[in-house]
């Protein structure tokens, strides 16, 4: 069995963001980078599936500059067998259609039985790439899964809907699923596995080898939202802050009456 998991490196969302000089993306320097949270669940599910079926080969793919290889090593340490790094310093200028086209071009002749992606990235958040890859490869895709089971080529998943409801969906491999938070508990790589990962294959492929389409949209401008104002911001000593909040709650609400 052949499995592919697609992951993205994103900044820690607690970061203090700055805009780049063209104001069409955030500045990439001085940020702490990590694996997109949704993709951690995708990697974990792919590793669990490999563990379940035994005879499987699991490829992890990521698109981006050299720094993404650090994150890919984490995926290898979690249990992926090999890495395909699609090297691209201008990745943030690619739209979801271009990114999906690159992944589909990479995957098209490789006969993957299962492809896992996160349901969206934390920075761009389009939620399109997984479904687009599946459509380009003419595979069934199921989005936003919070439960996954595989049995003899049949996949049974639960999709998360609004208001705490789930739907149960079955499909037959080959297929693609996009993973929602809470799908499983992503493992922490152990030290022996981190050492082992250093010896695993991690190939870099220039994006120009795989990119054969043009984007359909671009970021005209990135900016910080206007502060709506109105809200009071209080800073300072904790004892003083508690007194001030109690006064506010007494004035503005009835909860302390």
């Amino acid at each position: 069995m052949k499995i592919l998991v697609c992951i993205k490196q994103v900044p820690d969302m607690e970061s203090r963001f700055k805009l780049n000089s063209e104001s069409n993306w955030y500045e990439g320097t001085d940020l702490a980078w990590r694996m997109n949270e949704y993709d951690e669940y995708a990697v974990e599910q792919a590793v669990q599936l490999k563990g379940q079926v035994g005879d499987a080969d699991l490829t992890v793919l990521s698109i981006g500059p050299d720094r993404v290889k650090e994150m890919m090593k984490k995926a290898l340490a979690m249990g992926c067998d090999r890495g395909a790094h699609i090297a691209d310093d201008d990745y943030f200028k690619k739209d979801p259609f271009e990114i999906a086209s690159v992944i589909a071009e990479f995957a098209k002749d490789q006969g993957f039985d299962l492809i896992f992606t996160g349901m969206q990235s934390q920075d761009r958040g389009s939620g399109q790439v997984g479904v687009l890859v599946a459509e380009m490869l003419d595979l069934p895709s199921i989005t936003t899964i919070v439960d996954f089971a595989f049995d003899g080529g049949q996949i049974t998943v639960k999709r998360e809907l609004e208001g705490g409801i789930k739907s149960v969906i079955k499909a037959t491999a080959p297929a693609l699923v996009t993973c929602q938070l809470g799908l499983n508990t992503p493992r922490y790589p152990t030290l022996p596995n981190i050492m082992k990962a250093k010896r695993k294959e991690l190939l870099s492929i220039p994006i120009s080898d795989l990119l054969k389409v043009e984007g359909k949209q671009e970021t005209a401008k990135m900016y910080f939202p206007e502060k709506k104002g109105g809200g009071l911001v209080l800073e300072g000593d904790v004892a003083d802050l508690t007194d001030r909040l109690i006064k506010i709650l007494k004035d503005k609400t009835a909860v302390l009456a």
Binding site: L181, K216, K221, P225, V255
Partner: protein, 305 residues
């Protein structure tokens, strides 16, 4: 400008989010038509053409088939924009449509300024104006971003659509949220814990403040996903929607999905070390402090009142 609005139907009912699409078209001053895989026994109150496919025949969730039905409606209507809700139905179907049409697709639109869609980025800390390079566009709209001013009214002119496309996946039914647990929607005060509590042991200080305020404690998604709190405590799109007299958000950055579940609270206090956290957008008071110091101090003062 012509829009085709993709309404949603679940468990035998038209979803209210469908009317947000109508509000969007009205706000844009655009003509509209609607598409629905639904039933003629639950038609939307809407004046205009409704391309209707029979849910009894095609199912509520059947992406490959819904895609073909919608493409047929698009071919008849020739809209400039195909508009979905950014929902589990919309974000699943929309990419299939944009690829088939070979057009730009902008996700989670919160506004249109001078014809350009605006979307959030980086957990809503940033905004992005997206320029489409194609004339036709597919959009998904963030829930709550476009609201109807008046009660919806009217009755549609129904045009039936049909297909013999084969399904790719099998829908086996719905699973309701587990019964039991706490009903947060009845609480007058909710004190919620977010990722900022750091470790499960710190949930106790949140619970203590909730108790001091005679309320319930709630939680954001990461806290529930980590099994630090029960799912019935989760506030947000996939949990409960609440509107208490007082909502205290402790260490919650304010993801869109969380804000959608609590922004109608009467009074909102946020406690966060990050002054720029998006929760500040909806908070009446933002306390910039470490919740591990502030929350116990606050509980003690209230208990001594």
């Amino acid at each position: 400008m012509k829009t085709l609005l993709v309404a949603e139907y679940r468990d035998g009912e038209l979803l209210n989010s469908s009317y947000e699409l109508v509000a969007f078209a009205e706000q844009l001053g655009a003509e509209s038509a609607m598409f629905l895989v639904g039933s003629d026994s639950a038609l939307p109150t809407y004046n205009g053409t409704l391309y209707l496919a029979d849910v009894g025949k095609y199912g509520e969730f059947n992406p490959a088939v819904h895609k073909q039905l919608l493409l047929d409606a698009i071919a008849k209507e020739q809209p400039d924009m195909v508009v979905f809700a950014h929902s589990s139905y919309g974000w699943d179907l929309a990419p299939r449509i944009s690829l088939a049409l070979n057009v730009a697709h902008v996700s989670e639109v919160i506004d249109i300024v001078d014809g350009v869609p605006v979307v959030p980025a980086c957990n809503a800390k940033l905004r992005r104006n997206v320029k489409a390079k194609t004339n036709q566009m597919v959009l998904t709209l963030q829930g709550g971003a476009f609201g109807l001013e008046d009660e919806p009214s009217g009755s549609p002119t129904v045009v039936s659509v049909d297909t013999d496309t084969a399904a790719q996946v099998e829908f086996c039914g719905y699973e309701e949220a587990e019964a039991g647990g706490v009903d947060l929607s009845k609480a007058e005060v909710i004190v919620s814990a977010g990722r900022g509590i750091g470790k499960p042991e710190n949930l106790a200080i949140i619970e203590a403040l909730a108790k001091a305020l005679k309320g319930e404690y709630g939680a954001s998604r990461p806290v529930v996903d980590s099994d630090w709190a029960d799912h019935s405590r989760q506030v947000g799109t996939t949990g409960q929607t609440v509107s208490p007299k007082l909502y205290v958000a402790c260490g919650i950055s304010g993801a869109i999905q969380h804000l959608a579940g609590m922004k109608k609270s009467e009074f909102i206090v946020a406690i966060n070390t990050d002054k720029d956290a998006p929760i500040g957008e909806v908070a009446d008071v933002l306390i910039v402090a470490d919740l591990k110091e502030f929350v116990p101090a606050m509980t003690e003062k209230i208990n001594n009142l």
